[in-house]
Symmetry: C2
Subunit: 217 residues, 2 copies
Amino acid sequence: MSIVITAFERSPDGGLGLARDTRVRWALEEVGRPYGVRLVSFGAMKEPAHLGLHPFGQIPTYEEGDLVLFESGAIIFHLADRHTGLLPDDANARARAITWMFAALNTVEPPILELVTARFVEGDKPWTQERMPLIADRIRGRLDRLATHLGAAEWLDGESSAGDLMMVSVLLRLRPSGILAEFPSLAAYVARGEARPAYQRAFAAQLAINAAPAPAP
Amino acid sequence: MSIVITAFERSPDGGLGLARDTRVRWALEEVGRPYGVRLVSFGAMKEPAHLGLHPFGQIPTYEEGDLVLFESGAIIFHLADRHTGLLPDDANARARAITWMFAALNTVEPPILELVTARFVEGDKPWTQERMPLIADRIRGRLDRLATHLGAAEWLDGESSAGDLMMVSVLLRLRPSGILAEFPSLAAYVARGEARPAYQRAFAAQLAINAAPAPAP
């Protein structure tokens, strides 16, 4: 059954690969599933047709026959659950890999989202400059714990898994801020993720869309 | 195999059931698994013994034989995956229920966490009073979409599932702010969750700890 995902017609990051379709593309590449992409404009994301796929009017979505999913975490779990390669076979190791997916999305990403919101939504507010260091320190608190856990290991728990795919994707959002570079072991961990051929293909695919000349108005 | 979870020795909410052990207790009650609780102080949460269970030094954790998990989402998924009652049997319906778990944790909860952070971490800052309405509006944006999706249905996708358990748990955190009450259909949805016998038992169990007289210093 063919798979179709949605992505921004034009990602706000201009092709850095930080939009959430890149994570899903990466997982699709890891499990070797071809996929189609339907691009949606910011306007179309809030229209009924797209809201029927994604109740919160965001990207990515995932269509496969009768199945419609949204949320990058859910889509990647779905792929990992149905194909080999993204989750370990051992039941306990599998549960731990899933734990890292949730940790990436619910413990590490929220303070990073605060930074994104401060910069792009509250960027014009008089308090933002003074708040930024507080937000950055909260992120550093999480990264410090994560770096301690990772230690000298290559991946968070044994072999690389969907947990690493998600954590690397979340950490990548920090690179423009410079905070990731303050944690060399985490920067190296992210680089290991980016070096995977599946990530390279996913990144190139989103870049081909987002680095193209803007469509005529 | 016996199950042990961790919870705050003393929850900051004084027994409102908003700490994340309540979600896990609820899921354990739904699947009918007895469990033990080990209470941890704020100090002990940052010590090596607890960090060995939870790299970010939070609660809850989950121990079952050799298996150690953290992240309420991962623990609840683990229980739902191994017992009947929290996820539908139909494969597509199951994937959609899991989608709602991720939506609760990664789309609805992050702006709510911003509100909690503004109140309790930045509560003494000069900008907080002026920021609060902005944060509340971002939450309202998400709740508006959620209410539209729910419509007149009882649960988010057919029968109640772990997706509803998680969404109700996340929305409960909003009740003290008054924002939940602005969305009557969502308030009723949350009340349906709270009315479940499994939730009632979970709530009572955490209340018994948190409403007890404070331990002697």
